[in-house]
């Protein structure tokens, strides 16, 4: 790998060099994988430990003094006495409530934005109308505006609408319009064969019927890509919910976890409890990964290249 000579060498040397390079490459990959995966294992290992026992044996690879106490504690199932006995701070987090909030927020925002993007994309891909190209280029311009510029004015606007601390206020700025989604779906729809659609139109089906019965099913691949990436983004969303929520009523899980982390005592944090809460927060994404792993990987590659 180090030689820069390009003259042909004996075959055996080439094979040996290549194998050396190969083993270095595999070693690198294994290191990257360990660093990537280890924190997930550490979450699990800490969450299943007794928080007091962690102090005495911080480096054990297995849970220290195995217990489900941390989960019971953060879910509010343990009495204060039990919690304190295992090193809890007494603070709990209504995980069930926040999971529900996150599910409502992530599902609604994903379904709405994918649907609104799909109908807009259809108008840009298939319909002939005055102003189409101008409108499309204006929409694309929004890709250039980073969130930082619109966040504060959007907060003020949401406040003026009286929508602070509501799901509507959390959803509106992102659920109606996504330049990337529209662009992505329009590109795909332009590439679709028009034959089936035209046949349906000749048979007397209306445009809207054709859209729902023909175009939408034929676009299921990219629709899935946008749905899954949208759901991941919404589930992990932090900044906007932080701005527009002020109490626990609609606050999503990510935000609740951050509050829980920040309110834990600086001197002796309940790491076992924190990791239990972290695991619960990450669990839906881990399940999604186990079910759709391959499609998620392909989706991400696909959006980057498209």
């Amino acid at each position: 790998m180090t030689s820069t000579t390009v003259s042909p060498r004996p075959a055996r040397r080439i094979v040996r060099r290549f194998n050396l390079g190969k083993s270095v490459a595999w070693t690198y990959l294994v290191v990257v994988l360990i660093v990537t995966i280890f924190p997930f294992y550490w979450i699990l290992r800490t969450a299943l430990s007794n928080n007091f026992a962690l102090l005495t044996n911080p480096s054990s690879l297995l849970p220290v003094d195995f217990t489900l106490g941390a989960f019971r504690r953060v879910l509010g199932l343990a009495t204060t006495q039990e919690a304190v006995a295992e090193g809890g701070s007494g603070a709990s987090i209504q995980l069930g409530h926040f999971i529900l909030n996150s599910l409502i927020y992530a599902t609604l925002s994903t379904v709405l934005i994918v649907f609104f993007s799909a109908i807009a994309a259809y108008a840009f891909a298939r319909l002939h109308w005055r102003g189409r190209d101008v409108m499309f280029n204006l929409f694309l311009g929004a890709l250039m505006v980073p969130g930082i510029l619109t966040l504060l004015p959007n907060f003020v606007f949401t406040k003026e609408l009286g929508l602070l601390n509501t799901f509507a206020g959390m959803l509106l700025p992102t659920a109606l319009f996504s330049a990337f989604n529209i662009f992505f779906l329009r590109q795909f729809m332009i590439g679709l064969s028009t034959e089936t659609e035209e046949a349906a139109l000749i048979d007397g089906a209306g445009r809207i019927r054709v859209f729902f019965r023909v175009t939408l099913p034929m676009s299921s691949g990219p629709l899935f890509t946008l749905t899954i990436l949208g759901f991941i983004t919404a589930w992990n969303d932090y900044f906007w919910p932080l701005l527009v929520t002020s109490d626990d009523s609609v606050r999503p899980l990510t935000l609740a976890l951050a509050v829980f982390k920040q309110s834990s005592p600086q001197a002796a944090p309940d790491w076992a409890g924190l990791m239990a809460a972290t695991l619960v927060a990450a669990l839906p994404m881990l399940i999604l990964f186990m079910v759709f792993g391959k499609r998620i990987v392909n989706s991400i590659g696909f959006t980057g290249i498209k």
Partner: protein, 320 residues
């Protein structure tokens, strides 16, 4: 991170995207398309409302608020350039800008460098989707989760990383609580979270390079390293430009990891711009000044993006 869905800004694709629309120019009056106009406006109306109310309006309003004294509870008062004059004399702002640039440089360099290596190695060694799936795992969790688990692993006394360092004979490192380590530590967390995502995009770019090019290279006697430098890197340029721009824009707006891991401390050592803007707006309710800083950050981003696109000639590919 919000950039994920708005991800492929990819200006490279824009010209080609517009081309087909121009080819078949709209003929609103052709019989097959009678009535299209009305339907089209109905179909784009939700997106149009969102675009006007939550992109155009706040962009204009944000620019306007930058020139006002605005405390949310009372109406904004026009004060001309006062906010920007204050900005120039604000040491905390310049510190925040410096800290942010420092973070951007470390995290983007590491992230892109490691991602290229990872993607190339994955591409040359294995077609396993399982491996690619595993390295993308951190992308699926939130910055808050990532920052929480790393706060635990980097803890000064009980953190596993410091225990390992001690076992190897080193001294305790105050990763998140010392001035020197705060930003590098946050950068490491951010790189850990984004490495897989960036690698997969680069990997997809590698798959578009025809294998015949490498065969030709091999016949010419080039070794792996030479093929990487002379073939892979130049052919990947459009994808690398995209990844670079996205990483830089995302890194300039880093927030959740910082807020959870260090809260901007110790003593402003990790007080990044987004963090400072947030505390000005929601800690001191100085929305006018916070808007002015947002506008300044936006200007910085535009200049940097433009420079990157020029330097990398992002819209041209060497494949042709």
């Amino acid at each position: 991170m919000a950039i994920v869905t708005s991800t492929p800004t990819q200006p490279a694709a824009v010209p080609s995207a517009v081309a087909p629309a121009r080819r078949k120019s709209p003929r609103p009056n052709s019989p097959a398309h009678r009535g299209d106009g009305k339907l089209a406006w109905i179909l784009i109306s939700p997106a149009l409302v969102g675009f006007l109310l939550f992109f155009v309006y706040p962009t204009i309003r944000g620019a306007y608020l930058s020139f006002t004294d605005f405390r949310v509870l009372s109406a904004p008062v026009w004060i001309g350039l006062d906010n920007f004059v204050q900005l120039i004399h604000d040491d905390v702002f310049w510190n925040a800008l410096g800290v942010t640039v420092y973070f951007v440089i470390i995290s983007v360099t590491l992230s892109i460098g490691l991602s290229i290596i990872t993607a190339v190695i994955l591409h040359r060694l294995t077609a396993s989707t399982v491996l690619r799936g595993l390295i993308i795992l951190p992308f699926l969790i939130s910055g808050v989760v990532a920052a929480t688990v790393w706060s635990w692993m980097l803890d000064a006394q009980l953190g596993i990383v410091n225990i390992l360092i001690e076992r190897l004979g080193g001294d305790n490192i105050l990763f998140l609580t010392s001035r020197g380590w705060a930003i590098p530590s946050i950068a490491l967390i951010s790189v850990w979270k984004n490495l897989g995502y960036t690698s997969i995009i680069i990997f997809a770019g590698l798959q578009t390079i025809p294998p015949t090019i490498y065969e030709a290279g091999r016949i010419d006697g080039a070794n792996e390293l030479q093929m990487f430098r002379r073939l892979t890197l130049p052919l990947l340029r459009p994808v690398l430009a995209l990844v670079l721009v996205l990483n830089v824009i995302g890194a300039f707006q880093v927030f959740d990891i910082v807020q959870v891991a260090t809260k901007g401390g110790p003593a402003n050592a990790s007080n990044v711009l987004q963090m400072y803007i947030y505390s000005k707006a929601f800690g001191q309710f100085d929305f006018g000044y916070a808007s002015a800083m947002s506008l300044a950050l936006f200007a910085v981003l535009i200049v940097i993006t433009f420079l990157q696109m020029r330097l990398l000639r992002a819209s041209e590919s060497d494949t042709d």
